[in-house]
């Protein structure tokens, strides 16, 4: 006799029949009827109409029947709130039952009934249960607080349940502790600032004790909670690591991964030369390897996380390459992940093995996998320089197989290899050209065209080859069209005599017959360049390209750090910050690795990289769609396009190159979409004039926090129909101001003043209108202070601190540019934590360090430090070594970039040595200028 009997239906309405049975006098019949109802519910049938009848069965001493009714209630109470009230009395009574199982069951079920009216009645029983003598009831009640909070957060706070819950962290029973932690973590998620899980060494100790004794699930909750703790120092860090390490041997993979998260995070605080640090590194490898022998679904999650771990600490798994070798019957999602990690672990030591494997994979059946394997060979070539030659010959072997998709992938990656090792492997071009006809995928066609264009001078029939593509120009994808355009322009610049017709043809195809704005724009730019200044065209189009780097497929470091703090979570599976995709993540806090929080605020937002142009990693290929990059024809995507931050600001900037930027700022067309730019649609002849603005006008005002440079003339009267503007910049108490003096040197009255800035490096923009209220009579002078904000549009300027300004009056619009001292955007809270400073200093690569001499300063170190502080250059620490004072200083820019500096002052020597480190090295020079200015005034 099985439960399937509950599914048999009778001809007469099923509901009708059940109703009769539920109201039967016989206990047994009632129970059977409830079972039938539950069975229907499990398969998704709507049996809500039976609500009153089922609830009537609730008052029973039969535990099974009671449980079944509770199951039903939880499912349907929401749809029948008024009826659900009927159940309240029984709940309250059950919470007093002598049997703890029933008490717990009642409090557990009440919490699942999401009906406001019921929750009010729940409070008293819940309060009792939280202090119940039986730990089973207490642990159930702890979870119930989280449920209640989800329904009515205010109620939970008002009733003081949160404090009771916090008390439970010190409970004597480990399961109660674990559930209290779980409940608090859940509540904290919707209460980002509530300090609910206020972790201190005492609570940590309690958690660590409970960790040893609670169930596997409780261990996960506790470990995830521990991961949020910031140890005070390396000793505490080490002692926590020591107590967490045994969890690595747990049979439950989720426990293992949560433990790995805690260790990965806390070991950051340990000194690298500590013996224990090395021991810990060694201990991490085996559990990670073991995860790979689990079921494929677990393997997949493990692999995604290992992918992060090997990027952060490649040393952990560097000897474990073989466990990532692909088995032919692995599911495809496991294969692809393994492949990715193999490349990350590839080094000179193991490259031969890896290549042999990859070649093997390239003959497998699964097309997606084969493609990725071929790409992997290319990535190896780029990553391990010594292997490049072998990779290329392996790829050539694969091309000889003539398997269509293998050939196409191979060509795409060979293009990347050329980008990394120019002028080294061009001998293979002939072989590639043989396969020209078989290419039918846009990416492969584009790659091939790029190669032909790039090496046009060595390919005798380059013009014929490119011409053959031109026939079906309009049927090609945009990628191919853009590439073809660029390639033919390159060809023309290299062999101008024979290819004039070809280039004209492609330019007219691109500009006149195409609807694609990108293509048209690029066509116009080339056209204009070629017709006005062929030498410049050559410089631009044939410019030496930055080398491709293996870094392109690495996760951006700040994101990686955040993801390391989220090991084992969905974020780690998707390699995206939690804020990027989790719905309802009101409370997601950006987690940071301790001691490495150096990049400070710039890292706190997930959209790093948009905050300023200087965030762009150096020498990395610009992301696709970047017009500036396109001009240098670097537009083919890197091997795997994972540069995470597309930079809209850069793109906008490039548009401005076309001019129109300033015009559109001031003219009547302000309403128009700024991204369109003004001159976009017009013929090349109509290039607007904005490019012509001379940045030479005006002086360089260099004020400081306390000291403001005298005004200099920015716009002489003769250039502005009688309007003379001089000015300077000041930062006063966190407010940035532009102080202007307007003088009317003309014969007529000036009115209707307005001011606009062009996009600039740090997003400076007027925070209000230019307050010139009265008309400016001839020979009259007026002083105006214009408050500025830093929330304007961003575009990298050259020089970095350049500001292009347009001033309008009733006569005309005038343009000038001026330069502001960088100290203008040094913020007041720029003092970094000592420890953070140290870690950040170490973390920024030495290449980013710049050294300067500040000459002729006659201040002692304290006076200097005070003076600098006035301009928000903060001294964090001072050290004296052999009569030499070392000042460690930090500066934070308005866009969150941190600048770290070390200033060495030798007693009696008027020359200071200044070393500046910043993730965005281009600001160093300007920071130095500020130092000089501040110290000399």
């Amino acid at each position: 006799m099985t439960d399937s009997k509950y599914f048999t239906t009778t001809k007469k309405g099923e509901i009708f029949e059940l109703k009769a049975e539920l109201n039967s006098d016989k206990k047994e019949k009632k129970k059977e009827a409830v079972k039938k109802v539950i069975a229907s519910m499990t398969v998704g049938k709507d049996v809500s109409a039976l609500f009153p009848d089922v609830v009537n069965c609730m008052q029973t001493d039969n535990l099974e029947l009671k449980k079944l009714v509770y199951l039903y209630l939880m499912n349907y109470a929401k749809s029948q709130p008024d009826m659900a009230i009927m159940a309240v009395n029984t709940f309250v009574k059950d919470c007093e039952d002598p049997n703890p199982l029933i008490r717990a069951l009642a409090v557990r079920t009440m919490g699942c009934i999401r009906v406001d009216k019921i929750t009010e009645y729940l409070c008293e029983p819940l309060r009792k249960c939280l202090k119940d003598e039986d730990p089973y009831v207490r642990k159930t009640a702890a979870v119930c607080v989280a449920k209640l909070h989800d329904i009515n957060a205010q109620l939970v706070e008002d009733q003081g349940f949160l404090d009771t819950l916090k008390d439970l962290i010190s409970d004597s029973n480990p399961m109660v502790v674990a559930n209290a932690v779980a409940a608090l973590s859940e509540i904290a998620e919707s209460h980002p600032n509530s300090n609910l899980l206020d972790l201190n060494p005492q609570t940590i100790n309690k958690l660590l004790t409970a960790l040893n004794e609670c169930t596997e699930w409780g261990q996960i909750f506790i470990l995830d909670c521990l991961a949020n703790y910031m140890p005070r120092d390396d000793r505490e860090s080490q002692s926590i690591c020591e107590r967490v390490t045994p969890r690595l041997s747990h049979a439950n993979s989720a426990v293992v991964l949560s433990a790995v998260k805690v260790l990965m995070k806390f070991m950051e605080m340990l000194p690298k030369d500590l013996d224990y640090y090395g021991t810990l590194l060694k201990k991490l490898a085996p559990p990670l390897v073991t995860l790979l022998s689990a079921e494929p679904e677990l393997q997949y999650v493990a692999l995604r996380n290992i992918n992060l771990i090997v990027q952060k600490r490649p040393e952990i798994l560097k000897h474990e390459m073989k466990v990532f070798f692909v088995k032919y019957n692995d599911p495809i999602y496991v294969k692809l992940e393994k492949l990715d990690i193999m490349i990350r672990l590839a080094s000179q030591a193991n490259i031969a093995q890896v290549l042999a494997e990859l070649k093997e994979y390239a003959t497998e059946v699964d097309v997606d996998f084969v493609r990725k394997a071929v790409r992997a060979i290319g990535r190896c070539a780029i990553k391990v320089e010594q292997s490049a030659e072998r990779c290329v010959s392996t790829l050539l072997d694969l091309i000889q197989t003539k398997v269509n998709y293998v050939v196409q992938e191979a060509i795409v990656v060979i293009k990347d290899i050329f980008r990394k090792y120019p002028n080294k492997y061009e001998s293979v071009i002939a072989t590639l050209c043989e396969n020209l006809d078989s290419l039918d995928e846009p990416e492969a066609r584009a790659a091939m065209i790029w190669i032909v264009g790039e090496y046009a001078e060595r390919i005798d029939n380059a013009d014929e080859l490119l011409e053959s593509f031109l026939e079906g120009f309009h049927d090609e994808s945009t990628q191919v069209q853009l590439q073809l355009l660029t390639a033919i322009v390159k060809l023309f610049l290299k062999k101008p005599t024979e290819t004039q017709e070809l280039v004209q043809q492609v330019l007219s195809l691109a500009t006149q017959d195409s609807d694609n704005p990108d293509l048209r724009d690029r066509g116009y730019i080339y056209w204009r360049l070629l017709s006005t200044d062929p030498v410049a065209a050559k410089e631009v189009v044939l410019a030496e390209k930055p080398l491709i780097s293996e870094e392109t497929d690495l996760i951006e470091p700040t994101l990686l750090e955040e993801l390391i703090c989220h090991i084992g979570t969905l974020a780690s599976v998707y390699h995206k910050p939690p804020s990027a995709f989790v719905e309802g993540s009101r409370g997601v806090q950006h987690k940071r690795i301790p001691a490495r929080a150096g990049s400070g605020e710039s890292a706190e937002s997930s959209d790093v990289g948009q905050s300023g142009p200087s965030e762009a990693p150096p020498a990395v290929i610009p992301s696709q769609g970047d017009l500036l990059g396109d001009l240098l024809n670097l537009d083919l995507a890197p091997p795997t396009a994972t540069v995470p931050s597309v930079q809209p600001s850069m793109q906008m900037g490039a548009m401005d190159l076309l001019g129109g930027g300033l015009d559109s700022l001031l003219g009547g067309d302000i309403g128009g979409s700024p991204s369109m730019g003004a001159g976009l649609g017009v013929a090349p002849a109509a290039m607007p004039t904005a490019l012509g603005i001379a940045p030479a006008v005006g002086g360089v005002g260099m004020p400081t926090g306390s000291y403001v440079a005298p005004k200099t003339v920015w716009l002489p009267a003769m250039k502005a129909k009688g309007l003379e503007i001089s000015g300077t910049f000041a930062r006063r108490g966190g407010i940035i101001q532009m102080d202007l003096t307007l003088t009317n040197k003309a014969m007529s009255v000036m009115t209707d003043f307005a001011i606009q800035f062009n996009r600039n490096s740090f997003g400076l923009a007027p925070a209000g209108p230019l307050q010139v209220l009265t008309p400016l009579s001839p020979n009259q002078t007026i002083d105006v202070s214009l408050p500025l904000s830093t929330s304007g549009p961003v575009m990298k300027m050259e020089p970095l601190n350049n500001l292009q300004v347009a001033v309008k009056n009733n006569i005309d619009v005038f343009y000038f540019s001026c330069q502001y001292p960088l100290s203008l955007i040094f913020v007041e809270d720029g003092k970094m934590e000592r420890q953070v400073f140290l870690a950040t200093w170490k973390d920024i690569p030495n290449d980013n360090e710049a050294q300067f001499q500040i000459k002729d300063i006659h201040l002692n170190s304290d006076a200097a430090s005070n003076k600098l502080q006035g301009s928000n250059i903060f001294t964090i620490a001072k050290r004296t070594v052999e009569g030499q004072d070392m000042l460690y200083q930090s500066v934070k820019l308005t866009n969150g970039i941190w600048v770290l500096a070390e200033m060495r002052i030798q007693t009696g020597n008027p020359n200071y040595t200044l070393s500046i480190k910043c993730r965005a090295p281009e600001v160093c020079q300007f920071v130095f200028l500020c130092y000089e200015l501040v110290l000399k005034n």
Binding site: S4, A39, D134, N179, P246, S253, A254, V289, P331, S585
Partner: protein, 424 residues
Amino acid sequence: MLAAAKMIHSLFLVNASGDIFLEKHWKSVVSRSVCDYFFEALERATEPENVPPVIPTPHHFLINVLRHRIYFVAVIQSEVPPLFVIEFLHRVVDTFQDYFGVCSEAAIKDNVVVVYELLEEMLDNGFPLATESNILKELIKPPTILRTVVNTITGSTNVGEQLPTGQLSVVPWRRTGVKYTNNEAYFDVVEEIDAIIDKSGSTITAEIQGVIDACVKLTGMPDLTLSFMNPRLLDDVSFHPCVRFKRWEAERILSFIPPDGNFRLLSYHVSSQNLVAIPVYVKHNISFREGSSQGRFELTLGPKQTMGKAVESVLVSSQLPRGVLNANLSPSQGTYTFDPVTKLLSWDVGKINPQKLPSLKGSVSLQTGASKPDENPTINIQFKIQQLAISGLKVNRLDMYGEKYKPFKGIKYMTKAGKFQVRT
């Protein structure tokens, strides 16, 4: 306001033909239409096992595992550790298997009310509540024919009235008051070899996944210790929570109060650095000639490092290239089959006799006009070796403390092929 639904929201069970046959919601009801995203992924997957384990949808994430041809699809709404969910789903599968003997659609449907009660007991508000089979069995009695009959006569129920004893004790995995007339403790050391062997017969990777499974039926609260002749082999281990980790760290002795019944005491991993012995070798010659529709096929198996033990239950399978039409082979022993649709060749060899090596020889025919296949088939081998742990792991002694009786003790060893693959 969005519910910050932590943990598992709902569970759907989907059968091989893509029908949802059970749903369970721990919070509010999530419409089953959310599974449409899963079905899309299922449709895209070339093989049933290729469905990605984590599938994002606009408002939820679907985490699924495929076991016994049933997809267990968990619905979560916010950041939840995926491994947590997957481990929990595994526990659900294990529990079903434990309760119903098999985990199949029919068994689940037959016991739908028990299934529902179990699921309710295993998770509360998305937090795992009771997942140990010992505890669950005290809360909800497994269905047996006898009990059903008794229940109908006496009107008693499936649900335990007492708080399960293990729930909150320091040894949550063991219930109190266990009594047996025959006290016995058996341990199975089972090792699986995963290996990839290349064309020329040399080992590319080889590793051993070992487990010690126990069946312990002992009265009272026995405290056991298990020691090994060569514990140094075990440097990468995962323990059942009952094992005292400190004692292992210090003395390399397994000391534990065992759960009652069947459980996995530990699993371990011996990696390639430690030179894993390869017990069989394969000689193969699978060749196709350009322009000919016939290919040659020859396989010979032989024992390699078997420590003198017999290699049994040998089964060879290989996915032949798509262009292969049929195979005409003759085995020296055992039987072979070739499925012309899936192109799967499998050869049930049986035992390897070192004096007379088993072989499978003959020809394979290609489809007319088909070109020489690009891919090389991989040969998959399964085998068993009784009374041998290939890593050399040996139990030294098993002692019991805390109870006075003398239990029966036994240790068995076995080596099996895991993912054992030979490339050609």
